[in-house]
């Protein structure tokens, strides 16, 4: 019975299934309406759907001209982003795919050039002196991108880009840093490059999709560095990333978790997470839904109402938060209530750690915080049946909070830990300047 009802409701699963059979334009419209109807709503689901969609778009694109590919992806990207502008991950994925295409195109041109120029590696910069900065960025981007694809070397990746920052005037030095893998792969297909740029991009997208699948485990790998024995950790709302992070630590260490329930928008999921019942949320299609709860590992979990956060904060050693998206200035858009927790932590000088996949990191700079916040269903705050009240008052139910960068002490992404002020570096590693405004 439940299986049939799951199959009924459109969502990520049905979208991915239909993607294989439907023509591409149908799939685009399909995703747009799913986003509009909020049938796909978690950051990761949105990101996954977008990545799969763009993969289909590119494989359906019968051209190997990079510019045409970029145009096409931009067109699709704009439409999908407009469908739900507040799901910033959609834009992030679009930008990363655009970056991929540009990189491949440039690799190609480099390869062309090197071919004609008897294969000297140091030369390729000269013809494109104009966009020299973005050039070096892209080169570095390539490096870090590779590193994110190979998670266990990722620790070494950021230093490379730091290094290349210093060595900025000599782009050549950055090239040899990364290219061990990049340039051969870039050159090999160069003979037949016209055909292969698409294949390269598709590979790239597949890697993004893989990254989306692994990101929580990668983040969880840092858990033992941050959670120590007998600590008291406060967290908020239900987030698979946070949950995996804590689980990883719980395997080795004993600590206490205080879990704020994030009423009214997510308390049910939070309760389910804490008690270990599988949430009904079919969007988390993977087996993650069946993970053990913390209590099964002998961790004490205390579920508290949001209002008790301040009172308990004095005893908390660390606040670990999940997020909806991270902005270029280091601020974040996260479930409503997060800002209160962050402020309470500030008052008590408790460190605030945010765990988030790099895919949530958006190059958008928040000039207008209000426009980032989505307002949800008012009936979660006040029952709609209370007719007299409904008639006389305005009810607002913000789904998200904007938390300024100053309230955050540390970000842990799949690339490692970063200070909020460092995020702009990761942004410039992952997104190309040309793509910030898609």
């Amino acid at each position: 019975m439940p299986s049939s009802s799951v199959a009924l409701t459109p969502g990520l699963a049905s979208f991915l299934k239909s993607l294989k059979t439907n023509p591409i334009d149908t799939s685009i419209d399909d995703l747009i309406s799913l986003l509009k109807r909020r049938q796909i709503r978690h950051s990761r689901s949105c990101a996954t759907a977008t990545a799969y969609l763009l993969r289909s778009v590119i494989s359906a694109c019968r051209t190997s001209d990079a510019n045409k590919l970029i145009e096409r992806v931009q067109y699709v990207g704009r439409r999908v982003m407009a469908a739900q502008p507040r799901e910033m991950v959609v834009g992030n994925i679009v930008r990363r795919v655009l970056g991929l295409i540009r990189d491949e195109a440039e690799d190609d041109r480099e390869a062309d050039f090197t071919l004609s120029d008897a294969g000297s590696e140091s030369q390729p910069q000269t013809p494109r002196i104009l966009d020299d900065i973005s050039e070096s960025l892209s080169a570095r981007h390539d490096g870090s991108d590779r590193s994110s694809r190979q998670p266990f070397t990722s620790l070494s990746a950021p230093p490379i880009s730091m290094f290349s920052l210093l060595s900025h005037p000599e782009p050549e030095s950055s090239l040899p840093g990364t290219p061990a893998s990049a340039s051969p792969s870039g050159r090999l297909p160069s003979q037949i490059h016209n055909k292969d740029i698409r294949a390269e991009v598709l590979d790239g997208i597949n890697e993004i999709i893989d990254e989306l699948g692994q990101v929580d485990d990668q983040i969880a790998a840092y858990a033992l560095d941050h959670i120590h024995s007998n600590e008291i950790i406060l967290t908020h709302t239900s987030s698979t990333t946070v949950q995996k992070f804590l689980l990883k630590a719980a395997a080795k260490r004993k600590f206490t978790v205080i879990h704020a329930e994030s009423y009214p928008n997510n308390h049910e999921a939070t309760h389910a997470t804490v008690s270990g019942q599988t949430p009904d949320d079919d969007e988390l299609l993977s087996t993650e839904a069946f993970q053990k709860p913390l209590i099964a590992l002998g961790i004490t979990v205390i579920l508290i109402p949001d209002s008790a956060v301040f009172a308990l904060m004095s005893r908390v050693n660390k606040v670990i938060l999940g997020t909806h998206s991270v902005l270029a200035n280091g601020g974040l858009v996260a479930a409503a209530g997060t800002r209160v927790i962050a402020r309470a932590a500030k008052v008590h000088q408790t460190p605030v750690v945010v765990v988030s996949g790099v895919y949530k990191l958006s190059p958008v700079y928040p000039f207008d915080f209000d426009s980032l916040i989505e307002y949800g269903d008012a009936s979660k705050v006040i029952g709609y049946e209370d007719g007299d009240l409904v008639d006389q008052i305005d009810v607002q139910n913000p789904l998200y909070d904007y938390v300024p960068a100053e309230s955050i002490d540390l970000y842990i992404t799949n690339l490692g830990g970063h200070a909020p002020s460092y995020l702009y570096r990761i942004v410039s590693d992952h997104y190309r300047k040309e793509d910030i405004n898609v």
Binding site: M1, P2, S3, S4, S5, A7, L8, T9, P10, N22, P23, D25, T26, S27, I28, D29, D30, S33, K36, R37, R38, Q39, A82, D370, S371, Y375, G376, D377, A378, S379, K380, G383, Y384, E385, D386, G387, D388, V390, D391, D394, V395, Q396, N397
Partner: protein, 704 residues
């Protein structure tokens, strides 16, 4: 049903495979009501904009959310417009979530006809959802569907599940005039009885529950707090039930009531699924239109809000204070935009204008110093400088001049032009649509729209003024509490008896669903007699028909008389409007159909002529609402006397009967008949005592 069910079960068993049971839905785009007149004279109701998005979009969105794959859309009036719209919409695009969207045209005049038509077409293969084309809901239906299927699995007589939304006692989205009462057995979620309470008619504000229901059920819930949004999950059996009972018209009032009543006979059960969260409502009348608009703007319907931009091309953004604004809006620097406002693209608002609680369509032009509060201004309307619009609807391309005052509850229809300085008083409906009866260009009424304006006041076809009090509160845009309390006993009882006859577009379908069961008979019979009169069928045939109707409904003589009176009077009125004299018409009608009236009277031999008096009172009541009622009453009385249908005693008793003089209107209507009754009395005197008695006559007059 058996094999089908098995098929469903086995499919469900291997749901991992690609096979899925397709979910079908029937959308009744037209609900065969006249609540939205005059707008519905020119546009189908489900294309009316609700927060700048056509109503039907919300319904289809709801179905898409529910995972429905086949949709059958039944158009009613203006179905060509609807079809055109649907064909151009995203629902026809290859990306549409519906695998199949079938537009069905039918000549149906009621929900019952549609259902029977559907049954005849054999389109429905499994469980299906029936919704009307004005449902707004963000409810995921799967919970109800799962329960429905489980129930059907165990008991194939469970044919229908109604989705009902719990709401408190008072709620803006609930209908204020009629409240449905569901009697539910909570242990099985089974609805065992259904009735509607009409708040305007004191006689029906009670429930008739069979004692057997109370004795046979352990637990009973009587619920009046439910919003019935007409979302039904049905099995194909429902269709055949509709077909079996060919006289059912309304889905609740008749079908639900009937099926529940015939439980002993059919054994079919109907269940309820009561939801406590999520939003579900129907835009059933203008008041609901207002309420649902507010709900949408306050995001109770999330995610179906303006900033979701359901229609491609919309780009609403949410600003602080529930202000939704599209790109390309021109706002003067000194204008004040208050809370809960929606402003569409291309609209411009002039200096010092105040706008709040208002929905503005696209390309509207709002002048300077305008005040808009609670107004619904549809696309392309123009509001002149200094005008005030309060809780009113100004439809597409309507033009309101300068310094006008549009009072609450006014409806200004498509393309109407109101001249400068006109005061449109409360509750006026102004339209420019061609009148129903004559084909020519409608004449403008300068007293309504001002010199140079275009449009005339639309009076609902029910020439009984649609009983101002009751319907204004129920279908008016405003919650007119004053009117609510104003509905005094006499007016409302009278009107509830007559309101529905022949009024709605369908001609045979009750618009307000306000009467109780016995009124159905009156209504049906009156319609049938009226049709016969119009087509000049011989009186034998009419009589036969009437008798058969009476037998089926087990109606009382009083009801028969009521039906006859209402049909006769309507016909007389109509002929009189055609230019004939009252006397002539009445002689013609009563002469020809004398027998029908006679057969409704059974007291010729008794001393108290209660039946005849009743007839006269009914005629009098009916005529209260008709123009020149007093004249008609005089001529009718005379004619009935001359045809020897009624006797002198009857007139005497009628005149003395307090029913005939218990209100101002009644007295007024019979004033002209005074002379006739006096003459009768005199004649009688002459006959009996052969002498004049002025004293008697005087005392008669004093009696009044």
């Amino acid at each position: 049903m058996g094999p089908k069910q098995k098929g469903g079960a086995s499919k469900r068993a291997n749901a991992t495979e690609e096979v899925e049971e397709t979910l079908q839905a029937v959308v009744l785009a037209d609900t065969f009501e006249t609540r939205f007149e005059p707008f519905t004279l020119e546009k189908p109701r489900c294309l009316l904009p609700l927060a700048n998005t056509p109503l039907i979009e919300y319904t289809l969105e709801f179905l898409a959310n529910a995972g429905v794959q086949d949709v059958f859309l039944y158009g009613g009036a203006h179905s060509d417009q609807l079809e055109k719209y649907i064909n151009a919409s995203k629902w026809r695009a290859p990306s549409s979530p519906f695998k199949q969207l079938t537009f069905l045209k039918s000549t149906s005049t009621s929900v019952g006809d549609v259902m029977r038509d559907l049954d005849g077409k054999h389109l429905i293969t499994g469980d299906f959802i029936v919704v009307s084309g004005d449902v707004i809901s963000n409810l995921p239906i799967e919970g109800a569907l799962t329960k429905h299927r489980a129930r059907r699995e165990s008991d194939k007589n469970a044919i229908m599940t109604m989705v009902l939304r719990e709401a408190g006692r008072n709620h803006r989205t609930k209908s204020s005039s009629v409240s449905p009462v569901f009697v539910i057995d909570p242990t099985k979620d089974r609805c065992i009885h259904y009735e509607e309470i009409d708040h305007y008619s004191p006689e029906s504000s009670r429930l008739n529950i069979d004692t057997e229901l109370i004795t046979t059920h352990q637990e009973i819930d009587l619920r009046q707090d439910l919003i019935d949004c007409n979302i039904d999950i049905c099995t194909p059996d429902v269709l055949s039930l509709w077909s079996d009972s060919f006289d059912y018209q309304a889905p609740r009032k008749q079908f639900l009531f009937g099926v529940l009543k015939d439980y002993e006979l059919n054994g079919k059960t109907i269940h309820t699924h009561i939801i406590k969260d999520h939003y579900a409502a129907r835009v059933r009348n203008l008041k609901a239109y207002d309420a649902v608009s507010k709900d949408i703007i306050s995001r109770w319907t999330y995610p179906l809000c303006p900033d979701t931009n359901l229609l491609p091309g919309h780009n609403y953004e949410l600003r602080k204070g529930s202000l939704y604004q599209e790109q390309g809006v021109t706002l003067a620097r000194s204008c004040v935009i208050g809370r809960r406002t929606v402003i569409g693209q291309g609209t411009s608002i002039g200096d010092k204008t105040t706008v709040k609680n208002t929905v503005l369509g696209r390309n509207c032009k709002i002048g300077k110093n305008v005040t808009l509060d609670g107004a619904y201004i549809w696309d392309g309307a123009v509001i002149g400088d200094g005008t005030t619009v309060n809780q009113a609807i100004v439809a597409d391309r309507a033009v309101v001049g300068k310094n006008c005052i549009i009072e609450p509850g006014s409806l200004i229809s498509y393309g109407v032009e109101i001249a400068d300085g006109v005061n449109v008083t409360e509750g006026r409906r102004i339209t420019k649509a061609p009148r129903e009866d004559d084909d020519g260009e409608p004449t403008n009424e300068p007293e309504v729209v001002g010199e140079g304006g275009k449009g005339y006041e639309y009076v609902p076809y029910e020439d009984e003024d649609d009983d101002e009090t009751a319907s204004n509160a129920s279908s008016g845009l405003i919650y007119n509490m004053a009117n609510l309390s104003l509905s005094t006993e006499s007016i409302s009882t009278l009107s509830s008896e007559i309101t529905d006859f022949g009024g709605s577009r369908s001609g045979s379908f009750s618009t307000t669903m306000s009467e109780d069961d016995e009124d159905h008979f009156v209504h049906d019979a009156a319609a049938s007699v009226y049709d016969s009169l119009r087509d000049s069928v011989t009186s034998d045939v009419v009589q036969l028909e009437l008798v058969s109707l009476r037998m089926t409904a087990n109606a009382s003589d009083h009801q028969v008389r009521r039906a006859v009176v209402s049909a006769f009077m309507k016909r007389i009125q109509q002929l009189m409007e055609g230019g004939k004299g009252a006397g002539e018409v009445i002689r013609e009608i009563f002469g020809k159909y004398r027998e029908i009236v006679e057969r409704a009277l059974f007291d010729r031999d008794s001393k108290t002529k209660s039946d005849q008096v009743d007839l006269l009172v009914l005629i009098q009541q009916d005529l209260v609402h008709r123009s020149r009622g007093d004249t008609v009453l005089l001529f009718t009385a005379k004619e009935l006397y001359e045809l020897e249908i009624l006797e002198e005693e009857a007139y005497e008793q009628w005149w003395a009967d307090e029913r005939s003089s218990n209100s101002e209107e009644m007295r007024q209507v019979r004033s002209q008949t005074q002379q006739f009754v006096d003459w009768l009395a005199n004649a009688e005197e002459e006959e009996s005592s052969e002498e004049e008695s002025d004293d008697e006559e005087d005392s008669d007059e004093d009696d009044e």
